[in-house]
Amino acid sequence: MEHSNCKHLLGSLSDYIDGELGSALCSEIEQHLEGCENCRIVVDSLRKTVYLYKTTAGPTGMPNDVRTRLFKRLDLSEFLEKNH
């Protein structure tokens, strides 16, 4: 991060990849990225990091016995069969 304004932009990169920045700051970042290889890598790998977590979130993975015990604990056993 040798450029002086890299640090100043770091806190905005998360909003930037979500597309939630105002147009002024957004173009400031884009302009900066054109000339700063390191920041480009940070933005790309940040985007990839979020993408990987979102795509591998997967199913909830609640085991069936956990569900059964929950319904019993809540005194809802009569609804167990009906809903599953």
């Binding site: 770091l10 990169l13 790998s45 990091t49 979020v50 591998t56 909830t60 993975g61 609640m62 809802l76």
Partner: protein
């Protein structure tokens, strides 16, 4: 939040408030999976996750009469569950240990150390079971409050506004914490995948 999940509008608030057990069973059916997942990822332990799950719905049933509908039912359930999980973490640790971020670093984003372009790695390598286990470990390394924001926003898919309601934080604070959580995870993943890139390059050199 699962994309195909039920929304608050799918439930009769009047029935829930009056203690209708069949309607409550439908609510439990719809949200128990995501609440369990949140508990697992917050606490990393199946028994603790199950305790949080049960406590969440016991409290929900008890307090549904007073649910004012200002937030959605799912946000309200996430709020109860997140509080339960954070309380459990607090109980596990020494009572004086703060589970929050140190205040003095609250507004600062740490400077990236790992500048490695690993985005060109094949997806199969990034999605391998080993990589996924590392990704889970990386989330565990976040402080509980950063972890909660990250899980709610990026795993459960809540909006900034919903996350702010769940955690009683301003939307600006949610964004700051999400940014810090993501930047830390990026740092950890860059270290991990960067090593794989280096290995790959070495293998290519040896082949040449």
């Amino acid at each position: 939040m699962d994309r195909d999940k039920k929304t608050t509008e799918d439930f009769s608030l009047a029935a829930l408030r009056s203690g209708d057990r069949a309607e409550f069973a439908r609510l439990v059916e719809a949200y128990s999976g995501v609440i369990y997942r949140l508990g697992m990822r917050m606490l990393g332990d199946p028994q603790d996750a199950e305790d949080v799950l049960q406590e969440t719905f016991i409290k929900a049933f008890r307090h549904l009469g007073g649910f004012d509908g200002r937030s959605s039912l799912s946000t309200w359930l996430y709020r109860i569950a997140t509080n339960e999980a954070l309380m459990m973490i607090r109980r596990r640790k020494h009572p004086s240990v703060s589970i929050d971020e140190p205040v003095e670093t609250e507004s600062e984003t740490e400077e990236p150390v790992q500048i490695v372009d690993w985005c060109c790695l094949p997806e199969t390598e990034m999605m391998s079971s080993e990589a996924r286990a590392y990704m889970d470990k990386a989330v565990d390394q976040l402080s509980p409050t950063l972890r909660a924001v990250f899980l709610l926003r990026d795993i459960e898919g809540l909006s900034t506004e919903e996350t702010s309601q769940v955690l009683d934080l301003s939307e600006a604070a949610v964004k700051t914490r999400l940014s810090r959580a993501r930047m830390r995870l990026r740092e950890l993943l860059s270290g991990y995948f960067g090593e794989r890139i280096a290995r790959q390059d070495l293998a290519h050199e040896e082949e040449a």
